[in-house]
């Protein structure tokens, strides 16, 4: 059984290898091969899951060491896997959603000449992500961590001929690297503290280390999580990452990779529990991001960027929950899974809309699409209801639990966090309703297809099957092919029922409890009150959005808006801050250093050379070429020699 874990990772890795190294011969079957291997991975995951269910709750973890990876002195890193309930949850989510999105991509990327490579990258991502969640030590986790970063880089920049895509990819990788610095320092700290960085000994003995060390490790892990999960202050890359193809946004930047930070924090729960300060930092980051993402999501007109803001905000919820400690871990993961379903569904829906709308991403040019794309409308609508927490759907259960847990934190802190979470729920309802209304309802605001000289946002679907409409024509919205709708339908099913299934009999709680532990907080408000409040803010949010966008026509050109709106459109000025401080400052710094290198460091060297050259130029004049002149020197030298001899004799 243990050996299957390795195969789980190897299957997509093999796919990546074949697809990327194989020549054009694979162009015709490559995408199906990639999908097949993803499915194989899912099947293996399912087998392992079945096997795991067959065992006792306490005895479900599987451990296997494949080989010693880096043995140097006391430093031992192994390639070993640890599959427990937490990892299993992720494995199923990754392979399941991953397979669906592979399937979706078959249709979505049909006309891209580099489709084979796209599937290679997707497979690479799956392998890295699986490695991340099944690794049994932090260093191997780090490999997966950077691996998904690489896959994300390659996929965001998949349409490399678009400078914006290449820049976005670079930005994503760089911001992630900043986070990675945190993870690597955390690993180093673990090594100095524990002499190892495998999960078992580190987490088992975390309580024996000093609080200071644990806080330091915790903060570094948080930095890593911030980078990967796009949390404030490292959130700026996620919006730009929407330059990638939509399936990528759905899989990597919504359902799986961005939640790796939550996995990391949950996995390292033992460390955070020993470091309350670090936990405080985690909940702070979660709460801030939750609002930050939500506000950004309200202002964006680009459908994908609005969804990206939403993703940020939802992950904020998860991080907040993970920061609460044992009272929140389970709900963080539960929200993560349900979010994986509905957000992937929403993105796929968005992709489907764009597919039918000449790759238009501006919601102000949509409108009234429900009539033209019924399947997309229904699945997107179910996802929408799930995310805003409509009673009975997935999001309702998971989000509700998180808000409860936030209140249960207790004290002023609890009130603040709970309040924030509630406010976030309200804003979520508002911006999601806004997206829904602007896209599917209201009058048509379609605009002609972009002219060829304007780089298209999603070049994948440039050549449509019928090939009827070119530049300057109005789009003809149509339903997407089966390969795209089937994954959407399946994900919609997930987003409707997953939450209920998990909550029924506390299945999910019992499933995860052996790994993460769980305790009930003593909430100052009852669960019912929380649910009521959540419903209330939900209604308020939806109503506000309806009042603003549903009752009167949406202007095609965005109004100037308030100061906050304008700031939110620019990602709350984070990018401007980065640009001024980091980019400009960095440019100045490197240019200054370049000048210093040229003038001071190299200048000193060259200066020495010039000085010596000048001196020898002067000295050279002594060499006038006249033999007699040299003879004088010889004669004088002889005299000096004699004098020296005599002097030595005298002394």
């Amino acid at each position: 059984m243990e050996n299957l874990i390795g195969l789980l990772v190897l299957a997509p890795l093999l796919g990546a290898g074949i697809l990327l190294c194989g020549g054009r011969a694979l162009d015709r079957v490559g995408h199906w091969l990639g999908t097949l291997l993803a499915a194989v991975s899912f099947a293996l995951g399912a087998v392992l899951f079945a096997d795991m269910l067959g065992r006792d709750a306490e005895d479900r973890a599987l451990d296997v060491t494949v080989f010693q990876w880096v043995p140097v002195g006391g430093f031992r890193a192994d390639v070993g896997f640890h599959l427990d309930q937490l990892s299993m949850t992720f494995v199923l989510l990754i392979t399941g959603v991953g397979t669906l999105i592979h399937l979706y991509s078959v249709g979505y990327m049909e006309h891209d000449e580099r489709r084979r490579r796209f599937f290679g990258y997707l497979n690479l991502f799956l392998a890295a992500m699986l490695l991340l969640v099944v690794a049994d030590n932090y260093l191997l986790l780090y490999v997966g961590w950077e691996g998904v970063g690489l896959a994300s880089y390659l996929l965001i920049g998949f349409w490399q001929h678009k400078p914006s895509a290449a820049t976005a990819a670079k930005k994503a990788f760089l911001v992630n690297r900043v986070g990675d610095v945190g993870l690597s320092i955390a690993i180093m700290l673990m090594f100095t503290t524990f002499g190892t960085f495998a999960f078992d000994p580190v987490l088992g003995d975390a309580d024996r280390a000093g609080e200071g060390k644990l806080t330091a490790i915790g903060l570094m892990l948080l930095l890593a999580a911030c980078g990967k999960s796009a949390q404030v202050p490292l959130q700026s890359w996620l919006g730009d990452a929407m330059e990638g193809p939509t399936p990528v946004s759905a899989l990597i930047h919504a359902a799986t990779m961005v939640t790796a930070g939550v996995y990391l924090i949950t996995r390292s729960g033992a460390i955070f529990e020993g470091a309350p300060d670090a936990q405080l930092a985690v909940v702070t980051v979660g709460a801030v991001t939750l609002l930050f993402g939500a506000i950004v999501g309200c202002a964006k007109d680009d459908i994908k960027k609005a969804l990206a803001g939403s993703t940020m905000s939802q992950i904020g919820y998860m991080v907040l929950a993970a920061g609460l400690g044992p009272i929140g871990y389970v709900f963080a993961i539960m929200h993560l899974v349900t979010h994986g379903f509905f957000k992937a569904g929403l993105f796929l829906g968005a992709g489907s809309v764009m597919h039918g709308m000449n790759d238009e991403v501006d919601m102000r040019r949509y409108g009234g699409l429900w009539r033209y794309m019924p399947v997309t409308f229904v699945t997107f609508g179910l996802g929408y209801l799930a995310i805003i927490g409509f009673p009975g759907l997935s999001g309702f259960f998971s989000k509700d639990k998180i808000i409860e847990a936030a209140f249960a934190k207790g004290g002023t802190e609890g009130w603040i966090l709970g309040g924030t979470a509630l406010l976030g729920a309200a804003i979520t309802a508002y911006y999601m309703t806004r997206v829904m209304i602007m896209t599917f309802f209201g009058e048509k605001r379609w605009a002609p297809a972009p002219s060829p000289d304007r780089p298209s946002a999603e070049p994948a679907a440039e050549k449509h099957g019928d090939g009827t409409h070119g530049a300057g024509e109005l789009p003809h919205p149509h339903e997407s092919p089966k390969s795209m709708t089937i994954p959407m339908i399946l994900l919609a099913v997930g987003s409707v029922f997953a939450g209920g299934l998990f909550t029924l009999n506390d299945t999910f709680l019992k499933w995860l409890e052996p790994v993460t532990g769980h305790e009930e907080g003593d909430s100052p408000v009852s669960a019912l009150t929380v649910t009521g409040a959540t419903m209330a803010v939900l209604v308020v949010g939806v109503a506000l959005a309806w009042a603003q966008y549903g009752r009167k026509p949406v202007p095609v050109t965005p109004p100037r808006g308030s100061l906050l709106t304008r700031a939110a459109r620019r990602d709350l000025l984070q990018d401007d801050f980065n640009h001024i401080v980091l980019v400009r400052g960095g440019e100045q710094l490197t240019r200054g250093l370049e000048a210093i290198d040229r003038t001071v460091v190299d200048g000193a060297v060259n200066g020495t050379a010039v000085t010596v050259g000048g001196l020898s130029g002067r000295m050279r004049r002594l060499q006038n070429g006249y033999a007699r002149s040299y003879a004088v020197s010889m004669f004088g030298g002889a005299a000096v020699l004699i004098a020296a001899t005599l002097l030595m004799r005298a002394v």
Binding site: N624, Y626, R628, S629, V632, F635, G636, A638, A639, I642, A643, L646, R649, A650
Partner: protein, 274 residues
């Protein structure tokens, strides 16, 4: 004449030394200071003869004779030959061209001399053995005994050196003829081909009062023709220029005739006025 184990020489030798030392020093100074190489050579020869006398006085009879015969007689004559070859009349300009050379040389010389003198004065050389015993079997025999026993290797090597030097001198001064010398016919053809000096070169000056190879012929305008004298003489600067002399002679002749015919001259003038 030579007292063994003494510290003072005889008075005669002292007198001889003081007189001849002045001569030798004078000769040496003259060697350095004379402008013409010939004079330098002669002064040097004088100094060498004085040194020969000193050798004799010091009991080095063989060396004294060799000094006179070989050094003064042969080597100095060689010098004179070369001086003649290069040009006996060419006098050195004593103007120094290298800045500070003369000062530095004087300074170094002075310092060097002082050091040498100081060194000799410091050495305890008050006693001398004399050569009475060494020369007892005859100076030449004594030298021969040493040369052919103790210094035989050096002697042999010196022989090799001399031969090498002789060969070297020949090699250095010998000019290899690379091509066959052109015959007269070929030379004349070449002149015609090049259309230069088809006629023979002008002969050197043959004047009423001068007809020597070192005097250039005069061109019709009175300037000397460089072509008429040997290039060797020209290079040595030994060409005598008589162009000015002829004109001066002419002027002197006119002057004298005018003086002699003073009246006629006046008459001429009167006639002219008339």
């Amino acid at each position: 004449m030579i007292a063994a184990g003494d510290s003072v020489t005889s008075t005669g030798e002292a007198v001889q030394f003081w007189i001849l030392a002045v001569v030798a020093t004078g000769g040496a100074l003259a060697t350095v200071l004379m402008r013409k190489a010939v004079h330098s050579a002669l002064s040097l020869a004088g100094t060498m003869i004085v040194l020969a006398v000193f050798y004799l006085a010091n009991g080095a009879y063989f060396l004294g004779i060799v000094q006179i015969v070989v050094y003064t007689g042969a080597i100095m004559m060689l010098f004179l030959f070369v001086v003649m070859l290069v040009g006996v009349s060419a006098a050195d300009s004593l103007r120094e061209t290298i800045r500070g050379q003369r000062w530095l040389a004087a300074l170094c010389g002075l310092g060097f001399g002082i050091l040498l003198v100081a060194g000799i004065a410091n050495a305890s050389l008050h006693h001398f053995d004399g050569l009475g015993q060494a020369n007892s079997g005859g100076n030449v025999e004594g030298l021969a005994a040493l040369v052919f026993t103790k210094y035989v290797f050096a002697f042999e090597i010196t022989g090799a050196l001399l031969i090498t030097a002789a060969v070297g001198a020949m090699v250095l001064t010998h000019r290899e003829r690379i091509r066959r010398a052109a015959t007269q016919k070929e030379l004349s053809r070449q002149r015609v081909r090049e259309n230069a000096h088809v006629a023979p070169l002008p002969a050197p000056g043959t004047y009423a009062r001068h007809n020597a190879n070192d005097i250039p012929a005069l061109l019709p305008d009175g300037t000397p023709s460089e072509l008429s004298v040997s290039p060797t003489l020209r290079a040595r600067g030994q060409v005598r220029d008589v162009s000015g002399e002829a004109l001066a002679d002419l002027a002197a002749l006119e002057q004298r005739s005018r003086e002699w015919l003073e009246r006629d001259g006046d008459e001429d003038r009167k006639g002219a006025v008339k």
